[in-house]
């Protein structure tokens, strides 16, 4: 699956789709594929602060649990409540299934994230894929 060129990525396999001072955050297709069948997502509450590079929750498959790291700092404005009942949506379409909507504390932080091309290069170096 292609990694959308308009998104930015972390080395911990999250993506952020930025629109002005807000952004949607999700996990990458590589992350969902590595995890396998996702059964549980633990997310913060609306109004919570998230910090760049710090964990904001976790995602669990049948076989493993993986921390979620925030690409940028900001405040949570929405949480994808549908994932409580249908976490497997992430497996079906990781690119469009957002976990959080946040308002960015500092839009410049986005510049420090990986582009799609950089992320794909990182993946090939890390995993040999």
């Amino acid at each position: 699956m292609a990694y959308p060129a308009t998104y930015r990525y972390t080395k911990e396999h999250e993506w952020i789709q930025v629109d002005g001072s807000t952004g949607n955050v999700g996990i990458t297709d590589y992350a969902q594929d590595s995890l396998g069948d996702i059964v549980f997502v633990d997310l913060p509450k609306v109004g919570d602060a998230v910090e760049a590079g710090k964990t904001f929750g976790s995602v669990e498959s049948v076989k493993a649990v993986s921390d979620l790291f925030s690409p940028v700092s900001g405040k949570v404005t929405a949480v994808n409540e549908s994932l409580k009942d249908k976490p497997e949506t992430i497996n079906t379409d990781a690119n469009t299934t957002w976990l959080l909507k946040i308002t960015l504390a500092d839009a410049k932080q986005v510049d420090g994230l990986l582009t799609a091309a950089e992320y794909e290069k990182f993946l090939s170096e890390e995993t040999g894929h």
Binding site: H13, S34, G36, D37, V39, F40, V62, K63, V65
Partner: protein
């Protein structure tokens, strides 16, 4: 997600290239490069519960004992009573240390008079073989052979396993009872050991074929083709683990180990203390005389939102640390979050509420009966 660091080359089964070509996800399991996920863990798990699945379990070890002293050797090494076995019968058993804890759990097969095969775990193979040599060294009339690398072992498991395998053999599989085995022609191969055994909680068979790559790949392919009409899936160690967890079966290094004794693990019914001497017997008798174990293995079902996993601590509701989870996961067929854990016996009472600490948060769980899942047996 960190990649495991590998210090020595991983060992491969004869089907390694087949798994890689099928794009199965591979992991290091006890030093073996094994598929963890072939078609999706949940799909594989459900296939085995409702249809059929096939596993490459060639990493398991096989030790054969031959000679007039073979029964005495097996009896000394293993806690169950192998003298009760008929030719063609198998039994669950375990090798113990003198203190009553586990070297490994095994399945003992009586191949003929004076000829026994014990199937051992992959991760403990070297340790087991060394232990066996140590225990039976000096015992007369027994010759031990490690045949682990000679067999490709396939597990065909699920309610449609018999129909699947029957297409590939002229041997009447319905005549093989649970935990019995025979030899027959499978996929044109002569003298294949066909055992009605498994590690999934379902009906199924394990077959032992020559471990050369072309034969292994051919039989694997023929099993998949035979099971296609039943929706057969190639299954990995991930589904193998969740299937055995639902079925309440122990895994070495988790529910059983060299720090856990037979009674704690709830496996006392397989330890035949009256059969004569065996390694670990004295310790088990002492434990029994002292009133039994202080802790026991229990089933837990999460009743609040959260998944208890291996190593997570378990607390009483008033905050006393009770023990920890040995295996925990969502149960894909039961659709419940389940775990096995050691707790003091007084907390092992059914319907006791306890708390599992999941990344700093205490989440309630209920002590439930093991196994979590028991298949409906046909009333024939």
């Amino acid at each position: 997600m960190s990649e495991p660091t590998v210090s020595s080359p991983l060992r491969k089964t004869a089907l390694n290239a087949v798994h890689r070509a099928a794009k199965s996800k591979m992991v290091d399991f006890g030093g073996w490069d094994m598929p963890v996920d072939c078609c999706g863990l949940v799909a594989e798990h459900i296939a085995v519960r409702t249809g059929v699945g096939v596993f490459d379990v060639s990493h398991m070890g096989d030790i054969q004992f031959r000679g007039p002293g073979s029964l005495a050797a097996v009896q000394k090494l293993c806690m169950n009573d192998a003298s009760k076995l008929a030719v063609g019968q198998a039994q669950y058993s375990a090798m113990l240390y003198p203190n009553g804890t586990f070297v490994d759990d095994v399945v003992v097969h009586k191949l003929s008079e004076n000829d026994y095969l014990i199937v051992i775990n992959a991760g403990t193979r070297e340790k087991d073989v060394q232990w066996v040599r140590q225990v039976i060294g000096g015992m007369p009339g027994v010759h031990m052979n490690d045949f682990s690398d000679y067999y490709t072992q396939l597990a065909i498991q699920g309610p449609r396993a018999a129909e699947t395998l029957q297409k590939l053999t002229s041997t009447d599989l319905s005549a093989i009872k649970n935990y019995w085995f025979t030899w027959g022609q499978v996929c044109g191969l002569h003298n294949v050991m066909i055992a009605r055994t498994g590690y999934t909680g379902e009906d199924g068979f394990e077959i032992y074929i020559p471990s050369d790559e072309p034969t292994s790949a051919r039989v694997w392919g023929e099993v998949l083709a035979a099971g296609a009409e039943f929706g057969i899936l190639a299954c990995g160690l991930g589904a193998r683990n969740t299937l055995r967890l639902e079925a309440g079966m122990a895994l070495y290094g988790h529910e059983i180990s060299d720090t856990i004794n037979v009674f704690e693990a709830g496996l006392g019914r397989y330890a035949k203390l009256d059969k004569g001497d065996f390694v670990g017997r004295d310790a088990l008798m002492e434990i029994q005389a002292a009133g039994g174990p202080k802790r026991k293995l229990v089933g837990l079902e999460m009743i609040e939102r959260g998944i208890g996993r291996d190593g997570y601590p378990v607390f009483s509701l008033d905050g006393k640390r009770l023990g920890e989870i040995t295996s925990g996961s969502p149960g894909p067929f039961l659709k419940k979050n389940i775990a096995m854990a050691y707790v003091p016996v007084e907390f092992g009472v059914l319907d006791t509420e306890v708390a599992v600490e999941i990344r700093g948060q205490r989440v309630k769980a209920l002590v439930v009966a093991l196994p979590f899942y028991k298949r409906a047996r046909k009333s024939t």
